[in-house]
């Protein structure tokens, strides 16, 4: 792979080609550039197959299923509660359609949210959305709507509320400090939805200090939380338009 004397191809043409832009006449007339073009064409074609000689472990799929089974078995607390989320959402929708007046009431007299849409959650975490301007909205949310979280932490020594946006950005994280508040055995927090996206609410409970967020998103944080034997109670995913 010899180096040509004219360096314009490397210095100029490569990025132009990556940008799908046309090249000027120099690159057709210059012998060095033509050779460079052929060389880089061969190089980029070869990159398509780079590493193709390597094969994954022959039992890799079985290992994936085994790990999924192991994780499923190690989270018994989450098992039966998973069903409460869709059941709770169904119950909330039923109330919206049949008994609209009940929207103004709360099952907990101390947490009435007027004009809000409340989604029932797994035990420990309740989520409510208060539309901006008190405009009734049956499902979903919009920028500026207020997300209210109320968690019962039981006898957990360490508790934390988190909200992730698009599984990457941690937009809320608190325990005893603002924006969280603790009172009467409940942990509460509020944020206004700042941007469109899918928001995932989570309550974390543990007997030892909770792992700090990784900064690499919800999935990586989940790995760390499960390794730390943290009880993870996910709330609803809320789509904000």
């Amino acid at each position: 792979m010899s180096r040509s004397n004219c360096e314009r191809f490397e210095q100029e043409a490569l990025v132009l080609l990556e940008e799908s832009q046309s090249l000027d006449s120099h690159f057709e007339e210059c012998t060095d550039c033509q050779e460079a073009m052929a060389m880089y064409r061969e190089l980029t074609n070869a990159l398509v197959d780079v590493g193709s000689s390597h094969e994954p472990h022959p039992q890799w799929q079985a290992r994936v299923w085994a790990e999924i089974a192991r994780r499923h078995e190690s989270q018994p607390r989450l098992g039966w509660r998973v069903w409460l989320v869709p059941l709770g959402v169904a119950a909330a929708l039923l109330m919206v359609l049949v008994l609209p007046g009940l929207l103004q009431q709360s099952t907990d007299p101390g947490t009435q949210i007027a004009g809000g849409v409340e989604t029932a959650q797994a035990p420990g975490l309740r989520v409510a959305i208060e539309p901006v301007g008190s405009v009734y909205r049956s499902v979903g949310a919009a920028i500026g709507d207020r997300l209210r979280l109320e968690a019962t932490t039981g006898d957990a020594r360490h508790a934390e509320l988190r909200v992730y946006r698009d599984a990457d950005e941690l937009v809320l994280r608190c325990s005893t400090e603002a924006p969280c508040q603790q009172a009467d055995g409940k942990l509460t927090a509020e944020i206004d939805f700042p941007e469109p996206g899918t928001y995932q609410t989570v309550l974390l409970l543990a007997s030892s200090p909770l792992p700090a967020p990784s900064g690499a998103g919800f999935e990586v944080d989940l790995d760390r939380l499960y390794e730390g034997e943290v009880e993870v109670l996910p709330g609803d995913q809320i789509r904000v338009e």
């Binding site: 792979m1 060389m39 070869a46 780079v50 000689s53 994936v64 790990e67 995913q237």
Partner: protein, 207 residues
Amino acid sequence: MVPNSDAVSAKEDADSATGQATWDPEQEALEALDRNDPKAALSILMEAYGQGVYRFIRQIVRDESMAEDLQQLTFVQAFEGFTRFNRRSSLRTWLLSIARHRSLDSLKSARRRRKRFLESEELPEAPAQEVRADDRLEEQSWAQALESCVQRLAPEARTAVLLRFQQSLPYSQIARMCGEEAGTLRVRVSRALPKLRQCLEGLGMTR
């Protein structure tokens, strides 16, 4: 929990019926998710993209054992994350995004671990494959040399080159995956290619 073989059988039926590959794993996996069958979806994705994901990861982390673990972790997390998949990208792009995140995290973790035991401030990455001068012409094939040179690129450049050429992704998808501007990635790739050329020349690989 056992793997779902129905998805794989569907592929075989489609291939035999038409005499050629007409399998659309993206569509089939999405349909499996729509009917709330994540196991079938995962089976389809592993069959369709497992090898490509592994080779992508292998080139990033440069370690066979680590690549195997990360490949498996990618699909485990995909299974756990199906409910969060928002369909703004293809499933393949989504898988590669998970793989990329896990791979770069592993590189950072490995780097921190090495730094803990070494006192040097500027710690270069562990060399990919040491190639002695007398090995160059006789033992290194051109493909092996190219693989070695790709692994010597800085992690971000290596990832961009792999996504662009090995995985044949458009810059728009790479940009979304990496959280960077497409223009930045184009420049990064165009600057990485001469480095590959220089590396190959250094290994005595001329064509």
